[in-house]
């Protein structure tokens, strides 16, 4: 095959231009290429293109639907955490640190207003996203003034977010740390997912003491419209921070803290704090919302 040195090559010789295709690069090459319907040199309709980063842009039509859309547009309907680099490979001991991917995922959900999806996998998130607002009272990073956050998993049995176990002071057993603390968001919805505090057995008793590191796995505060559905917690082990009652640190002794929120719906929950599912296992009657 001889080398073609041209910006555009027409494929097909039909007198009907739309039956021919043109493979072309820009007159000022930028690393992109496209396959278009039509004759070279004429107005063409792009069929598929590849940009300089190797991304493929093309139109597809879902089976049974009527309108073709670009793959990029189609994929953007639901935001997938894996698109931000998350890897669900936690094996109970080690796994990818998904803290940055988790933070970027949430930030995009905030700016885009789109729905977030977390596919099957166990995602280890040792550091909650956001910033520490008041280091005197709490060392938990938090997201503040977010918009509408909607996240769903592939199911409680398939999608799990795993928190970090951390030794909080010498001689003290580790406790579960936060996966997410979100404050003053417009709405928050979480469904079909498991939150895992990382413990597989019950440590010795921890009681309350002054500890700015006390954390729930998930904390939602000052939020209107909160919704939890088909959410399981397990393996959580926390303790009370009795140093700052007014900031609700007491509530962080539980796996989920919903504080000063209105219009909340929590249904189909399995709150298994310590022993996971092995101690008290039964089916939840699922209802539509």
């Amino acid at each position: 095959m001889s080398l073609i040195k041209s910006n555009a090559v027409q494929i097909g010789q039909s007198p009907t231009a739309t039956q021919n295709f043109t493979l072309a690069v820009p007159s000022s090459p930028d690393g992109t290429i496209k396959l278009a319907r039509g004759n070279a040199g004429a107005t063409t309709q792009d069929v598929i293109s590849v940009d300089a980063s190797g991304n493929i842009n093309g139109l597809v039509k879902s089976t049974g639907s009527t309108t073709a859309r670009s793959l990029a547009n189609r994929f953007a309907d639901v935001v997938n955490v894996k698109d931000f680099g998350a890897v669900g490979d936690w094996n109970g001991t080690t796994g990818t640190d998904n803290s940055i991917a988790w933070a970027n995922f949430l930030a995009f959900l905030n700016t885009s207003g789109k729905i977030g999806f977390i596919p099957e996998g166990k995602y280890y998130i040792p550091t909650a996203p956001g910033t520490v607002v008041n280091p005197v009272t709490s060392s938990i990073p938090q997201l503040t003034n977010y918009g509408n956050i909607v996240i769903y998993g592939e199911g409680e049995k398939l999608t799990t977010l795993v928190a970090k176990k951390e030794i909080i002071s010498p001689g003290i057993n580790p406790a579960s740390r936060a996966i997410l603390k979100i404050v003053s968001c417009e709405s928050f919805s979480l469904s079909d997912i498991t939150l895992d505090g990382g413990f597989t057995s019950n440590p010795a008793t921890l009681s309350g003491w002054a500890d700015k590191d006390a954390a729930a796995l998930l904390e939602v505060r000052n939020c209107d419209n909160v919704k939890f559905n088909n959410v399981t917690t397990k393996g959580f082990y926390g303790h009370r921070d009795n140093s700052d009652n007014n900031n609700g640190n007491f509530g962080r002794s539980g796996p989920i803290l919903i504080a000063n929120c209105t219009n909340g719906i929590a249904s189909n929950l399995r709150i298994n704090t310590l022993l996971g599912e092995k101690e008290y296992s039964f089916s939840i009657v699922r209802t539509s919302q």
Partner: protein
């Protein structure tokens, strides 16, 4: 799970299960209210043997954990001193099992009570407290069941009750509770506690405990509590038993073995510490009518039933309906202190086997004396004026049968006139 904070409101929590809440509650909830809690199952764990954490009766640990549902107390009032009133709570279809400490409690401060509370279809088994309400108003509890509620001796002498109402107003309760069962704690792990305690057996203590409440209606089946089936304020050193109306309708069975039963019902404490009004009706103990003696004097004498110092003075009166005897007795006076009141009764006498002799009689007397029949309406249609001596201080229109003259006489305002 924790849902609270002073501005928390409009929460629907449903179709969920909770377990493994170590030393905390399975659900803490507080705020301004409008809470629907429905279709929940929560389970703790109660160990009866010690482990490496020590005495299972005194601390939660690897084998004993889990408090129940807590609205208002543990993580609200003490954490937020300005916590508001809690209004509109609907708890429906809830099962609470094996709760270390309380199962369901709504405890609020005097200045910020909980109002408009509905608890319906709740089942509690094997706990140290059943339902504990304090400073609750406008409460309707139906279809409640508490079984195997044991006194957890080392934690607090006040537990071991199925239902407790303290400082509550306008409460309507319809439920069941049974004690009876016992649990013995043993200490096989001899390395933990020195000296090794002897095994301790704990019992059910109170079925229903009430103190400082107003306007309660209680309809209950109560069974097998060791200390008292229903008690109104004898434990709390407070002279004010509160005014108000109390209606008790209860069927209870006495637990006879192996524990010794102390009191069946207790109302009030002493001559000066007593309920303002009390109505007891449809009440049985061991399938016997609770009230048989119209003088109520047996209350203090019978160890199985105490109802001390119920005021009977005008206009306060007590109506006692004794279904077995077919008798209605009205009282006007204070029987417990002065014996100066009067009473009247309407009694029926059943017919014999061939239908003869049925009648209704009307009796009166001072409370200190036996009832005396004065008039009888026979089932045959005839009436009988019981022969008697001339009544004192008659009024015009009075009629009696003079036992001295065997004449029926009518008083015209001045003299008695023979009617025949």
């Amino acid at each position: 799970m924790n849902i609270f904070g002073p501005t928390t409101e409009k929460i629907n929590l449903s179709n969920s299960s909770f377990t493994g809440a170590w030393s905390g509650s399975v659900l803490n909830m507080g705020g301004t209210g409008s809470f629907n809690i429905s279709n929940l199952i929560a389970k703790g764990n109660i160990s009866t043997v010690n482990d490496t954490t020590g005495d299972p009766r005194t601390s939660s640990g690897t084998t004993t954990w889990g408090k129940g549902i807590d609205l208002g107390a543990e993580h609200q009032e003490d954490a937020f001193t300005s916590h508001p009133e809690l209004k509109y709570v609907n708890i429906n279809n809830v099962i609470l099992l094996d709760m270390f400490s309380y199962s369901l409690r709504i405890i609020k401060q005097d200045s910020t009570p909980a109002k408009h509370i509905i608890i319906n279809n709740i089942c509690i088994d094997n706990s140290f407290e059943g339902i504990n309400l304090q400073n609750n108003q406008d409460v309707n509890i139906t279809n409640a069941s508490c079984t195997k509620i044991l006194q957890y001796v080392s934690i607090s002498a006040s537990n071991g009750f199925a239902y407790k109402f303290s400082k509550c107003k306008y409460v309507r309760f319809d439920g069941y509770c049974a004690g009876g069962e016992t649990t013995t704690y043993s200490y096989p792990n001899t390395t933990v506690i020195t000296p090794v305690p002897t095994p301790v057996t704990v019992y059910s203590r109170f079925g229903i405990s009430i103190d400082k409440c107003e306007n309660l209606f209680v309809k209950a089946t109560i069974k097998d509590f060791r200390q008292c089936h229903l008690i109104y304020d004898v434990d709390v050193a407070d002279d004010n038993l509160y005014d108000g109306s109390f209606e008790i309708s209860a069927i209870a069975d006495i637990y006879t073995s192996p524990v010794t039963f102390t009191d069946f019902y207790i109302f009030g404490r002493s001559a000066t510490q007593r309920l303002e009004t009390l109505q007891i009706f449809n009440s049985l103990y061991n399938n016997l009518p609770l009230i048989q003696n119209p003088l109520l004097s047996y209350f203090a004498a019978n160890s199985l039933f105490q109802a001390q110092n119920i005021p009977l003075g005008n206009p306060n009166s007590v109506l006692v309906q004794d279904e077995n005897l077919g008798k209605i007795t009205f009282y006007n006076g204070d029987v417990s202190s002065s014996q100066s009141g009067v009473r009247s009764s309407i009694e029926s006498n059943a017919a014999d086997s061939v239908g003869r002799g049925a009648y209704i009689s009307f009796k009166t007397s001072s409370i200190a004396n036996p009832l005396t029949e004065s008039f009888r309406l026979n089932s045959t249609g005839s009436v009988r004026y019981i022969p008697m001596t001339t009544p004192a201080s008659p009024s015009a229109g009075d009629v009696f049968y003079n036992s001295a003259t065997n004449k029926l006489q009518c008083y015209n305002g001045t003299i008695w006139n023979d009617l025949f």
